[in-house]
């Protein structure tokens, strides 16, 4: 039995898409085929990818079709309208600079003093030009680096933000329920709260499919149980049932755990660590 290391699996898996699109070289193609013939795991990946590609044709996502013909006929005009601002004219200062250099350098000067002055001006201008070029290069490098960091950070944000929203909104909902005043003698109107709890239960179901650390997964699960209790209560709840919500929050020390999770997953916080 051939033994593959993780690197060879990863390498082959990264080639599977191009393999299915017939974009591989002969050598790579042969490598992939040899590997999948003896690796059931990668063969399964290939079949799964094949099915995925078949389910996601590029034609299924043409958002431009949602716009009318008239919209597209006016699109270029709208871009031009945005550009109508005089500030959007490309700067031509560098052309006038070279014109000046041309004039100073090539125009014959009958007097030595005048020629000397012209050379001095030329040297100053060339020095300025070099400094400007260097500055532009530095700015582009910084912008490229910042962009890379932005893209990487954004990739990690989706699930984290969903966790943050879930714990925060669950807290607001459940604390709100425990602080509610009864509408009439010992009855509570929970219709709005129950609607919200159902939405949060769907969110919990989604989050349970995501790769979360154990603590966060447990918190999601504990909150979901209380939310289900709330969602299943009779709309005009009576005092003892609301006490169940209160009890659930206190017994599991959930408010403390929620505050920890909020702090950890807060998107405005610079450094996030698993808690």
């Amino acid at each position: 039995m051939k033994i593959f290391n993780m690197n060879s699996h990863k390498k082959i898996q990264n080639l599977l898409y191009e393999y299915l699109q017939n974009e591989l070289t002969e050598i790579d193609r042969t490598s992939v085929e040899q590997h999948i013939n003896s690796c059931s795991r990668c063969k399964a990946e290939l079949e799964s990818l094949k099915e995925t590609i078949a389910r996601i044709p590029s034609s299924a996502l043409d958002a431009s079709k949602n716009r009318t013909e008239e919209y597209w006929n006016n699109f270029a005009f709208n871009v031009e309208r945005k550009l109508a601002d005089p500030k959007s004219k490309p700067k031509r200062s560098w052309l006038s600079l070279t014109d000046l250099i041309d004039h100073m350098f090539f125009t014959p000067r009958p007097y030595v003093a005048a020629f000397g002055s012209a050379m001095a001006v030329l040297i100053c201008i060339l020095a300025l030009f070099k400094w400007y070029d260097h500055n532009e290069a530095m700015k582009q490098e910084t912008a490229a680096r910042e962009n890379q960091q932005t893209v990487q950070a954004a990739a990690d944000d989706s699930v984290s933000e969903r966790v943050y929203q879930y714990v925060r909104q669950s807290k607001m909902l459940l604390v709100g329920v425990t602080n509610m005043k009864p509408v009439s003698e010992a009855t509570y109107d929970l219709s709005m709260e129950q609607q919200k709890s159902r939405q949060l239960i769907y969110q919990a179901r989604y989050l349970k499919h995501q790769p979360l650390d154990d603590r966060t997964a447990k918190l999601v699960d504990d909150l979901q149980k209380i939310l289900i209790e709330l969602a299943n209560m009779k709309e005009q709840g009576n005092a003892p049932n609301v006490d169940i919500i209160r009890g659930g929050l206190h017994d599991e020390n959930l408010l403390f755990k929620i505050r920890m999770a909020e702090d950890t997953y807060n998107p405005n916080r610079e450094n996030r660590n698993s808690y």
Binding site: K10, Q13, N14, L15, L16, Y17, E18, E23, S48, L49, E51, T52, I53, R55, I56, S58, A60, L61, D62, A63, S64, N66, R67, W72, F75, A76, N78, V79, E80, K82, L83, S88, P90, A144, N147, Q148, T150, V151, Q152, A154, A155, D156, D157, S158, V159, E161, Q165, Q169, R198, Q199, Y202, Q203, Y206, H209, P267
Partner: protein, 180 residues
Amino acid sequence: MHAADEQLLILQAKEQDAGAFRTLVERYMKQTYNVAFNLVRNHEDAEDVAQEAFVRIYRSLEKFRGDSEFSTWLYRITVNVALDRIKQRKKKDEREVRNVENMFIPMMVQAGDNADVSMHIERALHELPTLQRAVVILRHINGLPTKKVGEILQCSEGTVKTHLHRGLKKMKEKLDFLKE
């Protein structure tokens, strides 16, 4: 459009030829819009992003030296503008609740119903992390070569392939989940 024709149009546009620039806009507007939409996930922002991309292209035309293809440059700017827009949107606290509700109401409607396949695919794509979404859009949806996607996103070809593989795998899981 032949590469030579496009180079000529770019040169003319650099010389303030409005017709040449307009031709370039009309040539690429729908593709730009599609990339923008699939990144920002709504039509209002997609329109702003696509127009802003062309505005930035026009303002930077004289800096374009032709080291890469025009479309590569355009896609790169579109992705950058879209990412800026995503970042701005996240900072708006007033839209938190609405965003969460918008995320879940479609799921509640679609679960168990005969929802349109395109809506499922769009939904699955829009829930990917931004980088994976960008790679899937450019490589799979738009069919751009791996090398070009790497130039647009300024990352290695290996990174593109890894994110494509992961992104498509996640999309399959989400599509299976939405079908349940």
